[in-house]
Amino acid sequence: MKNFSIATRQKDNVSILDISGELDAHTASHLENALKSLIDDESYAIVVNCSGLDYIASAGLGVFMAYIEDVRSLGGDIKLTNMNDRVYNVFDLLGFPTLYDILDDEREALISFQN
């Protein structure tokens, strides 16, 4: 999967996934595995930093849809940050901004987890 990469780091009890490249039906399983592994480790406060994300298709959005309910029911959330306009537009076309916390930068997401 050379056109997609993901890395996990930890900050103030929040797990941050840095995703970059192109998220489509081929690469979505990579994100899915990373989210599953955080949930398995009982890390429910999750920020997905999309600053390196160049492209997303609906298969990528589907991963966020599949896990948000579980994470929220366990007291956590998946917050999305640092999207470029093209990527945000795809989330917007499908109505994500009303149901997901989509923030300009990672710091805002970390603060909102503290409140």
Binding site: A25, L61, E69, R86
Partner: protein, 140 residues
């Protein structure tokens, strides 16, 4: 360029491995005819969704099956056609996705056709014999 047609074709196996190649194929054509970055992004996403639907629904993950893609343009329109010989798709089953409901029910599909219709100006489905074609048009 008025009155001339530029057509390019790509025959590719039905596997998500080739998604990036398919997106780049249509983006290169769109770039060559001078479309904006916004239009190029929309065309890349529309072809991705159409090709992914063929892989998942028409061929049900059968990577030896083929998809034939054609992209063409004239001064007024750019069109993309994808042909397969898999299970037919009934476009009347399409509806605007209810995101809240999908999340509650943990369903993640059914967004591709909606996106294609949002991104392109015309979308047609045809089935002739055992061949399916989706043809998407963007007005220029």
């Amino acid at each position: 360029m008025a009155g001339t047609n530029q057509i390019q074709t790509l025959s590719v196996a039905a596997s998500t491995e080739h998604l990036a190649e398919v997106r780049d194929f249509v983006a290169a054509h769109a770039q060559n005819i001078g479309l904006s970055q916004k239009d190029i992004s929309e065309i890349r996403l529309a072809v991705d969704e159409a090709y992914t639907n063929i892989i998942k629904h028409a061929y049900k993950d059968s990577p030896t099956s083929l998809v034939n893609i054609e992209i063409g343009s004239n001064s007024n329109q750019l069109w993309i056609s994808l042909k397969d010989e898999g299970k037919s798709f009934d476009p009347s089953t399409y509806s605007e996705p209810n995101l809240m409901k999908k999340i509650k029910e943990k369903k993640r599909g059914g967004m591709g056709v909606y996106l294609i219709r949002k991104l392109m100006d015309q979308v047609q489905y045809n089935r002739k014999g055992h061949k399916n074609e989706i043809r998407m048009v963007k007005n220029l």
